[in-house]
């Protein structure tokens, strides 16, 4: 249950006291310019009257703040001037892993000139095997920061450790929570508290419902700058690396006000399918795309099979622009 306060902070104490009397749980959060009390379970918070209460929203979904029932209009996430969730489809691109500063700055410049708004690059890499390349770590974050400043492009990078939040706050513009950590609730809460925009990937074993509940953990910390990202789920099909859930993208757009991103690279798993999945995602309503591009894909230290070359990506940009226009959007 979401409780809107009528006027000012002074009135808090009385309504919170009443919730405590009823043994209800609650959280006070500032979200989208409003101060709210989220109280649960509904059965205990119901029928509460207090002069400070302006309105009460009862949401029938398991997630409340994330739901479009409560907030009907699209949320815009602003990252250093780049607006995600509006008419423009935002393209984030870059190599799977940060490998080398010079290479990285070169690709950042070229991608920006092609119309890319956000640079992606992994510094801490979650790898199935401990013997795979684990990323450059903090050194990678610093490289990203220097490039971001020099080229003038915000960066997104994956955080794996809740103890790294301050490090990421310093160097990175969007904290990415990866698929393997999509129900790492400790990390979700810390990302929420960081105040930074968060890109939350859907776990490959998670339902749309679980994905939105994970977002709720971030919003409940008072952080409304969340982009949710579909990156393929597990199915029995092995011809592609994962099964991109295009229906899940469309469904998520109905259920939540948050911007929905698509990652066509991981589900494709092979270079020649990435463009098809990217265009399909835009056609289905995605607000943002996250695409792996590498100056020399064959030599990439991770995911070499699925990264596009600059030339392939440049062609894809043209196609994406056409499809975006066809569904009433820009790139």
């Amino acid at each position: 249950m979401i409780i809107y306060m009528a006027r000012d902070k002074n009135h808090y104490s009385s309504i919170l006291e009443k919730l405590r009397e009823r043994s209800a749980s609650y959280r006070v959060a500032s979200l989208y310019g409003k101060t709210l009390i989220i109280a649960w379970p509904d059965s205990l918070a119901e029928g509460l009257s207090d002069p400070s209460v302006e309105a009460v929203y009862r949401v029938r979904k398991p997630y409340v703040l994330t739901s479009r029932e409560w907030k009907t209009e699209n949320t815009l996430v602003n990252v250093r001037g780049v607006e995600i969730g509006g008419k423009r489809v935002i393209i984030a691109a870059g190599p799977c892993s940060v490998e080398d500063e010079e290479q990285m700055i070169d690709i950042a410049r070229r991608l920006k000139s092609l119309g890319v708004s956000i640079l992606r690059g992994g510094a801490f890499k979650p790898r199935t095997s401990p013997y795979s390349f684990q990323g450059l770590g903090e050194k990678g974050l610093k490289i990203l920061k220097r490039i971001s400043d020099e080229v003038g492009i915000p960066v997104v990078s994956e955080i794996m450790d809740p103890r790294d939040v301050n490090l990421f706050r310093e160097y990175i513009d969007i904290l990415q929570i990866g698929a393997r950590n999509s129900q790492n609730f400790v990390l979700l809460r810390e990302a929420g508290r960081s105040g930074k925009p968060v890109l939350l990937k859907r776990g490959f074993g998670n339902t749309v419902d679980e994905w939105l509940n994970s977002a709720e953990y971030i919003l409940l910390e008072g952080n409304g700058s969340v982009i949710i990202c579909e990156r393929g789920i597990r199915s029995f099909e092995t011809g592609t690396r994962f099964t991109i859930d295009i229906g899940g993208i469309a469904l998520a757009k109905k259920l939540t006000h948050l911007p929905v991103c698509a990652d066509p690279s991981h589900p494709a798993g092979r270079r020649d399918l990435v463009a098809h999945l990217a265009l399909a995602s835009i056609a289905a309503g995605a607000d943002m795309l996250l695409i792996e591009v590498h100056p020399n894909p064959e030599k990439a230290l991770s995911d070499s099979e699925q990264q596009l070359s600059i030339e392939e990506f440049s062609q894809l940009m043209d196609s994406m622009r056409s499809v975006a226009r066809a569904v009433g959007r820009d790139i």
Copy 2:
């Protein structure tokens, strides 16, 4: 192994005799204007020399005739003048089940005027429960035939019984093999022998590889007019009825020369998602769409949740036209 004959039929006997001597299996088929001998296993057919042999193709896929390794150019399936697999994206639409002749003729006219090229309608309905509406049967086929003639539009309808092939030959332009019969090899063979174009749905528990192998059963009977159709697979996600495998559509286009159709209605399972999946399918490269449209969806005897109204479909046609153009195609 595919063996091309050099000149004329007279030479057959000698090469077939050699295959028999080696205990190889073989089938003679006329496909795409060529007479071929398909011989297997490769190990037994290998190294065969005969003056009648012009060329031999060794295919590394489990399916041979279906593969793009053998036939690189796209196959065009011609249904009474409607060409599937070319630049134009073909739209097939109509109600889930044929329920009533007047209603059906009215909707056929309206759909045709909107640009629909093929009418769909179920007469024999495969239903999970024996207590669900099973379709009008032969009566439904006759209604479809009359409408087809009167409105001037070819029709596609599902065949479930191999003993019904002659019935379908008389009344129906495209034999649909449904998802539940996608590995009913008896039915596949009979559909192959019918000589009629076949629309083969992918089973919701089948891999892309199995789907293409099922098509091979039809081609091996000398019937090359096969359209394969993705209609959603089973995954753990329950927010949509099935998970449309957009990656599977893109992958199938790489692997086979046959036209690939998408059915966005069944995976959506709910009206408000159908358009998103339809547009995504076109963006991903589908050659044809099969969409459920009903004059009064709420009153439909089957699949009422997912059928579009004429108005909704009319809007979708406009959007599909835009997306088709964006990817270099027409509707």
Copy 3:
């Protein structure tokens, strides 16, 4: 809705007339020694009063005759004196395909001496690829019949074509419907009408609910001798060929009165896992097991990876006896 008739056939006409007046659908069936009218939908059949009606059962499941709500006690399927569904766990075993008569008669004798009650062997083989061995067909059925008579053991074999029912009636004791035909409703109905016991495999893409609905098609034809068989479902796990759904076996036992069989060979996909799955199935409550055994597994024409040798199977019989006793059953 199931309607029990009070006395004799004379009264039929009146109640059926009433159902027709209400536009309800119905079917008269003799099942388990009772004559029943199954009428649907419930809404139309409700509140019907007639002197001939003794009792009415309303079932809340989508399947009616298959459900334990209606028939609470276990159904025993009797196959030439072998009783399936009782205290004794019945073992059916034999090679994947009938390949050779001498080999087959030898293995039949050895299996029988080890305690096997039913011989399995495929004559018509549903194969993913048309180029794989398709079985000996009618010749295989005749071999099975001769062996069955000579050795004194009933046989189960898979039927794929509804036109083959008379052939199977002549030669085979239990008609097997394979996983790929588990929703081939035409074949289900013909198997129902055959009057022969039917072993119905669960489709690898089908839910327990769909599996039980498929059984309902058979029962509705008045054939109550149905054994349902779990053989593994599709999941993302590729380390085993299929994922045996042990929970599905246990669940099915709760939902239906029909005997539940398990096939541990197909989900294992490799010889060294078959025993584990067989023992687990018995521990979970399976009434019957269907196991692939071959005199020379490495040389088998199909499924060579997963067939047990006689020696391996002999050991497994001992283990199965122990586990059966541990859960209060015999073998």
Copy 4:
């Protein structure tokens, strides 16, 4: 590649120097009484000769230390005298969450008297929704510690935050990594460094291969006391909460020397199926079971549907003893 050292620590420097020269990665670990160098990738570590090297093992699996290729005999994990992985099947039981000290101590005593060797209880609960009961946290750990001491039974409890390792070291005997954190590599590493026995659940979206790779992260920190636990995977079946992968248990036993545990409660999702899954797991070869038991399941604050009452559990213990004996084990 695993390098065994011939004699003493002095020789380290030389071989490590050689690995550094070749740019190979390496880790020195003490495992199962041996000091090892794990070096990778194989291509860089190959052909290394040094007087200090006694033997080199090349493992063809992606995981090395976890594999049975390297260590063929079963690993025994010793938890305060309870030996997991030996002839005896170890039963861990207790409520989903620690709710109340008195209730907990009572159930601990009753479970111990029934033959339970390890007490389970959740203090930090990973819940899909932030509005569900999150556990008592540190207070719950302290309750578990007091009970453990008073009743004389080791306890297992789930850790979610890498910063809590010291807390868990003080209070808990086995650190459980839950399904949602099974690829939280940061947490895996910290659990490895803790030196405490770890029970690693398989993620419901993870393959057996990924599960074993996750265990490798723990072993690579020098902690060989790892029990891996199957708790059901996601499939399309919704009749049970998850699909217990009995084949995965059997497969894991072949691939790894680590003890394999089964959790029958979560995949069942309903009380009346738990026993079937428990017995099947033992029959399939599980070394340990983890079962939810609650003094009053209907009033449980989490997972109330699937927790057994003491009476139900007591009966299950008898059945488990019988099945364990039938497969040559004890309880």
